[in-house]
Amino acid sequence: MSLENAMADIVGSRGVSTSYLERAAYSHDLAPIPRNITRFFNTMPDMIVRPDSLDEVAGILKLANKMRVPVIPRGSATWGYGGAVPTVGGILLDLRGLNKIISFDDARGLLTVQCGVVWKDILDFLEKTRWELPVYPSSAPSSTVGGFAATGGLGYGSLEHGSLKENVESIKAVLPTGEKAFVGPKTNWISPDQLFSSEGILCVFGELTLRLVPRSHTAIPFLAYFDRLGDAVEVANNLAQETRPFGLILRAFGFVRARKGETLTGPNDVESGAIIFGRYSSSTNKVEQSMDTLAKMVAEKQGILRPRNEAEFEWGERFYPLRIKKLGPSVLTSDVIVPSSQLEEMIQYAWQLGRHASVDVELEIIWLSPDRVLFFPLFLSDERRTFRYLSHSAITKKLIDRAIAVGGRSYGYGLWNSFHFKTSEPNRRRELTDMKRMLDPNNIMNPGKTLQAKTRFGLALPKPLYSGLLETLWQLGRWF
């Protein structure tokens, strides 16, 4: 029996496709990758399989194991690191059919959902209840629960409630062998911590039970303008320390273009200005106190606190940092986690990169804790100008290198950032390698990424070669 027929036996013929067009539609994620690069990998899946139950997922993995066929789990593919992109073909497992809310325990504030549920649907569902999500991703309108669990789980709400893994009660995972595993706080052979952020190489997150937080009495959004980026950074850092909003975001655009001089000694030299916005949600007293503190801090730096309706609008804009792409039409970025004390250094570095490449940048900074931020600069580029775009792609590597140098790390690794894993988090990488050997002896689950980028020819891409190539392109880029 062919693999296609065997898969159809598990999910039904309507859940399997080998059409060329369909396979092409699943051969990518958010990031545009030049053809010169993708030809090192077989990003085209051999078939797409769409299960709609955990049993079906288990059946697919058992069969794939038996036949030694790679399986690439995919949610909404809203990550840009190639985590859901095949490297050597295989079965692309579209998990969006597992989109049911399984149960809601109103008394305990527990919500059990399948991995394909979109975060926005959970936000809508909880609107009618007395509970809220403690944390959700900036791509909530389309990203899935499983995707967020596999790729870091840091987002809006992290400043107040930590990451997703700190807000999950238990997981029903399907392991690469097809075995189903319940992983809760009392599971002794594996912990939820080990599975989170494993980028689809260890398991499929079948179901998650989320711990909700009681809906706040008061929730007030805020928005402040600053003429100088450095003032905005300082106020945001102080706010994160002293008031801990549910969400705190800084945005600035055009600061490379706006700068007239040749040197930048600190963010205050930047002439673009910036906004900070976010939301407090807590008891009425606490929110009022926080808003008073905010008003004082903003006034001290000659910022302007904007009216509530504008703040409400901007809070709604938290899901749309990619609007900027309209000016690209491409953007290059790496989201890195850095100590907030190093923000100035990172901003200056992003400015230097933008200057060198003659491209403009949007800055997006999300506070994850009082002392850590997600630094997410978006560099405008144009993928149609292949050489220039290739040259610009060195920006992603350089940002991660600098983040590591200042005590930070890449938000994730996937295919394109896997070279940095060893330098960035050696212990975590060692642990993940051991887990991979134990749980996936045949290496069928999302192979060729995270731990090591492997090309379609079975060879690992050596880091020195990769680094040297990017550096050469970067230097040559200024002539194009």
Binding site: S17, S19, Y20, L21, E22, A24, A25, Y26, H28, D29, L30, P32, R35, I48, R50, S76, A77, T78, D94, R96, G97, V118, K120, S139, P141, S142, S143, F319, Y320, L322, R323, K325, K326, G328, P329, S330, D382, E383, R384
Partner: protein, 391 residues
């Protein structure tokens, strides 16, 4: 496909698409199929790939992808919800329509689409029926119609309302209300199809010919206002004719729901209260694409005591599956969409489902006929006329 046929902005937008997927879950076709290639994001990605890798003649130089891709283009109701949800403000609807036009020129469009031009240029209606039978609905329904040389308001009936038995009551209701208020109105002596289906079949010259005919007659009648009960006809006159004729017709174009709203607010009609539970389905071409969402609700809430708003309504109203020629290209999918929308409307517990589009009412009606259900589907004009005892 020639790149040149896509505008510069469209070519830029294909690359600007962030692939964020915010449109995906709002697409009614993706919702039913679940395959990425049917979603707006998937189609843009495939298009980018075709533009990126080949010369200017993308469809013909991509035989491996072209025919399947064109099928996806026509497995679409052109409801425009993807455009509504795109935060990069890419006009995806315009892109789909342009690509359809290109596929027709490349002879890749489904046969049912390719024959539309021939049909419309023959008997001048979408059904290919005898043009002399266009007014038979008045005989069947007993409606009192007017055909005058000059009139302030011209009632453009449209093909579906004229020829489809299920929809002829809409024309009867509209004429009854126009007569009741003593409106200075008339029908056209020689009404042709509005040509809206040609907008998606690439027959620009044929479309211009039809538009010129209709506009010439209406302007000759000295009309100030053209009113129709069909949102597709309204869209053709208001949005497409100015583009294709390179000038704005010399009259206002409104849907009958808007005229009803004026009559209610001016006190020209008094509609007795209705106790039944009523809900309203927004036709895509009237609500989202035409921007008319408040007027039908104002009319309904002026006499319906128990009006219930369905989920996914107004500008984000969910398509019933009747638009974009889907009924001609994939009747099963069209029926599937109608069934889904009907379930949402039924969830309101309404006894009467109203709408303001003969095509929506037909498609929802067909879905309803497969269920043991006592719910009625009626056009807004019919509900009003019945309540006023005019039919």
């Amino acid at each position: 496909m020639s790149r040149a046929l896509l505008s510069k902005l469209q070519r830029e937008d294909i690359f600007a698409c962030a692939q964020c997927g915010y449109c995906v879950n709002w697409c009614p076709i993706y919702d039913r199929s679940g395959w990425e290639s049917t979603s707006p994001r998937g189609k843009v990605f495939l298009l980018k790939r075709m533009l990126d890798r080949n010369g200017p003649d993308v469809f013909t130089s991509n035989p491996r992808m072209a025919s399947e891709f064109v099928q996806r283009l026509f497995d679409c109701t052109t409801c425009g919800r993807c455009t509504e949800k795109c935060h990069l403000e890419i006009n995806l609807l315009d892109l789909w329509v342009k690509l359809r036009e290109i596929s027709v020129r490349a002879r890749l469009a489904p046969q049912s689409v390719a024959v539309i031009e021939k049909t419309l240029l023959g008997p001048k209606n979408v059904f290919g029926m005898d043009s002399a039978a266009r007014r038979d609905w008045a005989t069947y329904t007993g409606a009192e119609i007017k055909t005058r040389e000059q009139a302030r308001v011209v009632f453009f009936v449209g093909c579906v309302t004229s020829y489809s038995g299920r929809s002829q009551g809409v024309a009867q209701a509209i004429t009854a209300i126009l007569n009741h208020v003593g409106e200075d109105w008339s029908m056209m002596d020689d009404e042709w199809c509005c040509g809206h289906p040609l907008a998606v079949s690439g027959a620009t010259e044929a479309y211009r010919h039809i538009a010129e005919h209709n506009v010439r007659i209406i302007e000759k009648m000295g009309a100030e206002t053209l009113v129709s009960g069909c949102p597709g006809c309204c869209l053709a006159f208001r949005e497409e004719y100015p583009r294709i004729l390179d000038r704005k017709p010399g009259f206002e174009v409104i849907h009958f729901a808007q005229l009803l709203d004026r009559y209610v607010s001016e006190g020209k009609i008094d509609i007795p209260k209705l106790q039944a539970k009523v809900t309203y389905h927004d036709p895509c071409e009237l609500g989202r694409l035409g921007g008319v969402t408040e007027e039908p609700r104002r009319v309904l809430t002026s006499f319906v005591e128990n009006f219930i708003e369905p989920e996914e309504s107004g500008r984000i109203g969910r398509c019933c599956g009747a638009g974009g020629l889907l009924k001609a290209t994939n009747v099963t999918l069209s029926g599937d969409l109608a069934d889904k929308r009907l379930s949402m409307l039924n969830n309101t517990g309404a006894e009467i489902i109203t709408s303001a589009c003969p095509s929506c009412e037909q498609n929802l009606g067909e879905a309803l006929s497969k269920r043991p259900d006592s719910t009625r589907i009626q056009d807004l004009a019919e509900v009003v006329a019945q309540q006023m005892g005019l039919m």
